[in-house]
Amino acid sequence: MQGLEHELKNPPPQKLVVEGVSKQFKIRRNIVQALDNVSLQVREGEFVCLVGPSGCGKSTLLNIIAGLEKPDTGQVLADGQPVTGPNRMRLMMFQESALFPWLDVLGNLMFSLNLKPNLSRKERREVAKFYLHLVGLEKFAHANIHELSGGMKQRAALARSLAPNPAVLLMDEPFAALDALTREQLYGDIQRIWEQRRKTIVFVTHNVREAACLGDRVVLFSPSPGRIREQFTIDLPRPRDINSVALAEHTTKITRALKRYLPGAATEVAE
C-alpha cells in the first residue's frame, strides 16, 4: 500500500540534476562569471530548451552536463551519478556539424557505433542504416561531407549522435547556421524523432520561437552573471508548427520576460 502511495506521489525520476553550478572564465584580465549558482532538473524523456542571449552561459552549462568542462563549484548528476567526464550516454551535437571530413557519411555513423561494445560489425552497419533512413539520408551513405548541404550535414550529425542510442541528447544551437526553410523542416524532423526515440533532450538556442516550438519547457537565462531567471511550460500539442498563433503567444510572453532582464541588450535575441 505504501508502495502505491509512493508511486502516485512521486514525480517521474530526474534524469539530469544540475546542483548549484558556477563557472568563471578569465578573458585577458577580466573575470567573466559564465554561470552563477545554476540549478536545473530534467525529467527522463523531457525536451528542455535553454534560451538566452549570447554570453549567458547556456552553452557552458551544456558542456558541463556533457562532461567536457568542469564546474568551479556544484555538480551535475546523471541518473543520480556525478558526471566526471564525457560519456556516450550523453551525446552532444554542435552548431557546426563536426562531422569528420576524412570519412563518408556512413563512416561517420560507424565512428560513433564502433565505440560501442557488444555489437557485431553487421549489426553496427544495420543500426547505421536505420538512423540514416530515420533522418532521410539513406541515399547519401557514401557521400563525402563537403558534398552535403548545411541541412543535410546537420541531419547526418543528428544520425551520428542518435546511432549509439544515448539516453540524453545535448544540442548546442544545432540549427543556428541554417536558412529558415531548412530549419523549419528540421523542427518537424526533430519532433518526429524525439517522439519515436523518446530521448531526454537539452537544447540550447538564442531563438525564442525555436525554443517554444520544440521544448516541453523553456528555461530563460540572463547574462553576466549567467543565471536562470524564469521557466515556462509549453503545453501545446505536438507536432507543433513554428508559425502557429498559439505558439506566437508563448513566444511573446517569453520574449517580454527576456527583455525585462536585459535593458537595452535585447537586440541579439530573435523573436
Binding site: L91, A98, P101
Partner: protein, 255 residues
C-alpha cells in the same frame, strides 16, 4: 588527354626551333647542345646501361633516406604537438635546421662516415626530416577542437582519439609536409652527388658532374631531363593518390 597533347606539341615545336637555331649557328654549339645530340646521348647511355644504373643508385639513396626521414619525422612531429617539452627542444631544433640547406652537412658527413653510402643517406635524411616534423606538428595543432570534442562525447579517449581523429584530421598538412620533405631530399641528394664522389655507386649527380668535366653538355642536359622526369614521376606515383583522396574527401584544392 587533350592537355597532354597540347604539352607534347608545344615541347616538340620548342625542340625543333632549338635544333634549327643551333644548326644555323645562331646559338654556339659549345654553349647549348642541339636536342638531337642530347637524344643520341640518352639513347646510347640507356643502351649501355649507365643511365639505368645511375638512376637506380640515386633512387635507392633517395627512397631509403626519405623513408627513414618519414619514419622518424612523423612520430617526432606528433610528440612535438603533444608535449610542450618536445616542442621547446626538438621543435626549435627542427625550425632552425629546416632553414639550413642540407648540402651544408656534406663536410661533416664525409668526416663522420667517409665517402660511403651512409654519408649520402645522412644528407638525404637531414633534407627531409625537419619539414616532415614541422608539417606534422602544424597539422596536429590546426585540428579543429570541435572534432576532438565531438569524438570525446562519443566515447573516444587517448590513443583512439589520436589514431582515429587527430592524425586523419591533420592529413592535409602531413601530405604537403611529406611533399616538401621529398623535394628537399631530392635537391640535397643532387647537390651532394655533384659535390662528392662516392665510390660505391655513381648516381645521376655524378654523371652530370662528369659531363661538366668532359665538357659533354649533351650529357649534362640529358641528365637534367632524366632528373626532371624522375621528379614528375615521383609526384604522380607517390603523392597524386593522396592528393586525389584529400580532394575527394575534403573537397579542397590540391595541397
Amino acid at each position: 588527354m587533350k592537355r597532354w597533347m597540347h604539352a607534347l606539341v608545344i615541347f616538340a615545336v620548342f625542340a625543333v626551333v632549338w635544333e634549327i637555331l643551333v644548326r644555323v649557328g645562331l646559338i654556339p654549339e659549345i654553349f647549348v647542345p642541339p636536342p638531337s645530340r642530347v637524344a643520341l646521348y640518352l639513347g646510347k647511355s640507356l643502351w649501355d646501361g649507365t643511365l639505368l644504373d645511375a638512376s637506380g643508385v640515386t633512387l635507392r639513396r633517395l627512397l631509403l633516406g626519405y623513408l627513414v626521414g618519414l619514419a622518424a619525422g612523423l612520430p617526432l612531429g606528433l610528440l612535438n604537438a603533444r608535449f610542450k617539452f618536445m616542442e621547446d627542444t626538438v621543435g626549435m631544433l627542427a625550425l632552425g635546421l629546416q632553414t639550413l640547406p642540407s648540402v651544408c652537412w656534406v663536410p661533416l658527413a664525409l668526416l663522420w662516415f667517409g665517402q660511403t653510402e651512409t654519408a649520402m643517406f645522412f644528407i638525404v635524411i637531414m633534407g627531409s626530416l625537419w619539414s616532415v616534423i614541422l608539417a606534422t606538428d602544424a597539422g596536429v595543432r590546426n585540428v579543429s577542437p570541435i572534432y576532438i570534442r565531438a569524438a570525446r562525447t562519443m566515447g573516444s579517449r587517448g590513443l583512439h582519439t589520436w589514431i582515429k581523429v587527430i592524425i586523419p584530421a591533420s592529413l592535409p598538412f602531413i601530405v604537403s609536409g611529406m611533399k616538401q620533405g621529398w623535394a628537399f631530399a631530392w635537391r640535397s641528394l643532387m647537390a651532394a652527388e655533384i659535390y662528392v664522389t662516392i665510390l660505391t655507386g655513381f648516381g645521376l649527380g655524378h654523371l652530370l658532374h662528369y659531363g661538366r668535366e668532359l665538357h659533354a653538355m649533351e650529357q649534362v642536359v640529358g641528365i637534367m631531363l632524366v632528373i626532371i622526369m624522375i621528379g614528375l614521376l615521383a609526384d604522380k606515383v607517390l603523392f597524386s593518390p593522396w592528393e586525389r583522396f584529400l580532394y575527394r574527401r575534403w573537397g579542397k584544392e590540391k595541397a
